[in-house]
């Protein structure tokens, strides 16, 4: 260790050496494929979308490698490693080196992806503004993580705000978007000046984030009272201010549910609240909106809980949301409860979390729409809807879609239970990876459909085996039902669950799937193949296999953990 810079670099490398060697290999592979197989014909367009998806995933991974935090006992999912404060290194450098490495890595990754994957497809990416944009995003991310060591709810809230900000800013650099949006807002000047202003802003964010982190780290290192304590403490106390429970619990299940709810129940509503705040307040302040924008934002408000549920569901699956450990907390394992009671408590807490979230979203959407939405524009769209779905059908469809959204949220929240409760890191990361890949894949599909208007035809030409899709889905449904049957029957034999609980759970979800199927039937009465596909997808939605397998894995984890 010749210098602190080298030591920090080595630490980052060593901690994630597996990922950091695999990532470039993966990128090289994609680049190779783009150069050879996907170069011509129908594949090229699709390959572009896929490359975007790979870029997004690689960026997420890089953020994860370089964020340079370590968990603490008393709370917060990671802050600056406290042990480094004892080193004879000035705080400014302690803050600067990880940021420098991180931003360098992000920039290099972007340029490398561009050169490897997009240039062979004759779609080179713009260079300057995305680099600045990503760099500023990374420094903001790191600054938020470092600056609020024990205030985990505040951190979550700010990260959600920041993520939303980042997610939408890039739209200002797309030519067709920016002109339309600026016209909406009544801005008279030229788009170029706005873009230049944003570039300067991004460039300034880096040093500003570094400066802020430096101050906060200095405060942590020397125990100096922080200036922003008031505001942060209020948010934190709001999140944790709940009256102490003084009555007795009616049963062990009630106690387990209360514990799960208090521990993890507020996370999804809080994250969604952050997203809603970021969506509603600026759009309300910016003046009258068009019908298109209103519809778009309403759609986003409905999608956000589902998306966030998928992300937060990864942490929800862990025995303890805030710690990176996967082992069973001994506090729970020592209680005389069966695996079934614990899993059902988690399911119930997830259900309450989702209900609260959707209730909040519904009220916010209604209030916002009344205050800021464009009735005229919506009317036009609704008139279109009347043509497709006469009578009361469109309201029924809307209601079913909302219910479907709620079900999807719940499903995503509990989907990772089997992996998280198993205690096996490999399975957990693999499961996370698959979910992330699916989400990014859907994102890629959206981008791709946005790019190509004749996508149905291209899709059909692209995949000669799209005819096999129903068969694949059928297979998945059968596998799911078989796994569910095996897992639940085994759990029932071992005495982990009662027959009534299982029957009730299954009945509820079969009803839910039936509602989704009904929605599909109403939505596409004239295209039977699409409707059937959607029916199969509806059959895949209910989390029947997941919790069943979770029971097995948890009881195995309970009795087979490592020292």
């Amino acid at each position: 260790m010749r210098s602190p810079a080298f030591a920090i670099a080595w630490e980052i490398w060593w901690r994630h050496r597996a990922g950091m060697t695999l990532l470039p290999c993966g990128l090289l592979l994609c680049g190779f494929l783009n150069r050879t197989a996907f170069r011509q014909g129908e594949w090229a367009g699709f390959a572009v979308a896929l490359s975007y998806a790979v870029l997004a995933m690689a960026m997420i991974l890089t953020f994860g490698f370089f964020h340079f935090t370590e968990g603490q006992r008393k709370g917060g999912f990671g802050s600056y490693p406290q042990r480094l404060f004892r080193m004879p290194v000035p705080t400014a450098w302690l803050a600067a080196w990880p940021m420098i490495y991180g931003t360098a890595a992000v920039g290099v990754l972007y340029l490398a992806c561009d050169w490897l994957m997009f240039v062979p497809l004759d779609r080179p990416l713009p260079k300057l503004w995305p680099c600045l944009y990503l760099v500023s995003g990374f420094t903001l991310y790191q600054a938020i993580l470092w600056s609020f060591p024990e205030r985990r709810y505040l951190k979550l809230f700010l990260l959600t705000l920041g993520a939303m900000f980042i997610a939408f800013c890039w739209m200002f650099f797309l030519p067709h978007m920016i002109e339309g949006t600026l016209a909406d807002w009544g801005y008279e000047g030229s788009p170029k000046s706005v873009q230049r202003g944003l570039l300067v802003f991004f460039a300034a964010t880096g040093p500003a984030a570094w400066g802020f982190s430096w101050l906060r780290l200095r405060g942590q290192r020397h125990g100096i009272a922080e200036g922003v304590r008031g505001g942060a403490a209020v948010i934190e106390r709001l999140a944790e201010w709940l009256p102490a429970r003084t009555e007795r619990f009616a049963s062990p299940d009630a106690a387990l549910f209360w514990h799960e709810w208090r521990q993890t129940g507020f996370i999804l509503p809080l994250a969604v609240a952050g997203v809603l705040a970021m969506t509603c307040i600026p759009s309300w302040l910016s003046g009258p909106l068009t019908g298109q924008t209103t519809m778009g934002l309403l759609t986003w408000m409905v999608i956000a809980p589902v998306l966030l549920a998928a992300i937060i569901g990864r942490g929800f699956a862990k025995p303890d949301f805030w710690s990176p450990q996967l082992g069973v907390p001994a506090f729970i394992a020592r209680r005389p409860v069966s695996a079934g009671q614990i899993v059902f408590a988690k399911l119930k807490a997830a259900l309450c979390s989702v209900s609260l979230t959707w209730g909040m979203t519904g009220i916010t959407a209604v209030v916002w729409f009344a205050a800021a939405g464009d009735f005229g524009g919506i009317d036009a769209l609704l008139a279109q809807g009347k043509i497709y779905y006469p009578g009361g059908q469109r309201w029924l469809l809307a209601g079913l879609l909302l219910a479907g959204g709620m079900m999807l949220s719940w499903r995503f929240l509990v989907s990772g239970l089997a992996a998280g409760l198993s205690g096996a890191k490999g399975w957990f990361y693999a499961s996370n990876g698959i979910t992330a890949a699916i989400l990014v894949g859907i994102l890629a599909c959206f981008i791709w459909t946005g790019d190509n208007d004749d996508h149905p035809i291209r899709l059909y030409n692209l995949w000669p085996w799209v005819e096999w899709l129903p068969a694949i889905l059928c297979g998945l449904v059968i596998a799911k039902l078989a796994t569910a049957a095996w897992a639940w029957s085994r759990a029932h034999e071992a005495g982990m669950v009662g027959g009534r609980g299982v029957a009730g759970y299954f009945a509820a979800w079969i009803l839910a799937a039936a509602l989704l199927a009904l929605a599909a039937g109403i939505a596409f009465p004239n295209t039977p193949w699409l409707r059937n596909l959607l029916w199969l997808c509806a059959a895949l939605v209910p989390p029947l296999a997941g919790p069943g397998v979770a029971l097995i894995t948890w009881s195995a984890n309970r009795t087979g953990g490592s020292p």
Binding site: A244, R248, F249, A330, A333, G561, P563
Partner: protein, 303 residues
């Protein structure tokens, strides 16, 4: 006081030939243990000797690779609900959730154990001087240990398992904890198993001592017998020795020249016989402390 026999039907804990490996490391090597009702068993040994692993087996946290583990006659991994309802335990990690208040933790624990005694819990709360409205993450180490002990004792479990109850605590808190444990021991039929590094605590409280060393049980007997079964003696030889003599039956040999101090496991006549066989005489002898016995048996220099 009745004492254990392997087939004792009264055994609250019955471990037979328990083996456990973690990778290539042997954590437990054919450990057998029987704890009858009403016994206080002290588990001692170095860090990493296997104490926590053994305790995890008793709580159903690990499944036996080979051998059997029975608590109250049942396998804790097969029937966790039945077994754990009768056990109170304090883990070394003190892994109570930080956001809960002390009172909430008590209510939460009460929901799982129908035998929770409200009055006893209130009395313990007062004796331990804990504030029910205080959040667990703001408690000091000592208060944390006391809270953990409170919720383990309050439902009057038949078996109390404590993993290093006094580790890292100041003497005042240690006294309080020891007193609470003794008070519980005075009641009928309560069995206690605790592991500790503080040997004077073990000697005060334990009826039976078990020592684990590198996964094997090297000592198992009544507390009094353990001490009286060892002698710390000084052997004087006629000629100075250049290397430590191999004394049969000694667990540790140290010294130089003509006098060597040994820790001998056996009776006085055996010691004299051993000294005679080496042509040495015993010039000093006393009963060793538990500390010396355990260090000697763990370190094993010579013999």
């Amino acid at each position: 006081m009745k004492f254990p026999s392997p087939s004792s039907a009264d055994a609250v804990i019955a471990v037979t030939e328990l083996v456990r490996h973690f990778g290539r490391r042997t954590a437990l090597d054919s450990v057998s243990l029987y704890v009858p009702r009403g016994c206080v068993l002290g588990l001692v040994g170095q860090n990493g000797a296997g104490k926590t692993t053994l305790i995890k087996h008793l709580l159903g946290g690990l499944r036996a690779e080979s051998g059997t583990v029975r608590v109250f006659g049942r396998d804790p991994t097969v029937d966790p609900v039945g077994v754990l309802g009768r056990i109170g335990c304090l883990s070394e990690q003190r892994d109570l959730p930080g956001w809960m208040r002390v009172g909430e933790l008590m209510r939460h624990t009460q929901a799982f154990y129908p035998s929770w005694d409200e009055e006893y819990a209130a009395r313990l709360l007062q004796d331990f001087q804990l504030d029910p409205g205080q959040k667990i993450k703001t408690l000091s180490q000592g208060q944390l240990a006391k809270t953990g002990l409170l919720v383990a004792l309050a439902y009057r479990p038949e078996l109390l398992i404590l993993d290093e109850p006094s580790s890292g605590l100041d003497p005042v808190v240690r006294r309080d904890i020891l007193e609470a444990i003794i008070r519980m021991v005075s009641e009928e039929g309560r069995t206690v198993l605790f592991s500790s590094h503080l040997l004077d605590e073990v000697e005060r409280v334990a009826d039976q001592i078990v020592m684990l060393h590198q996964g094997r049980m090297v000592l198992n007997g009544r507390t009094d017998d353990v001490r009286r079964g060892h002698i710390s003696a000084v052997l004087a030889f006629d000629d100075p020795l250049s290397a430590a003599p191999a004394v049969p039956g000694a667990h540790a040999v140290a010294g130089s020249g003509r006098e060597w101090r040994i820790l001998f496991g056996g009776t006085r006549p055996e010691l004299e016989a051993a000294a005679l066989s080496l042509k040495a005489c015993v010039v000093e002898e006393r009963t060793p402390s538990l500390d010396e016995i355990l260090v000697a048996r763990a370190g094993g220099k010579g013999g």
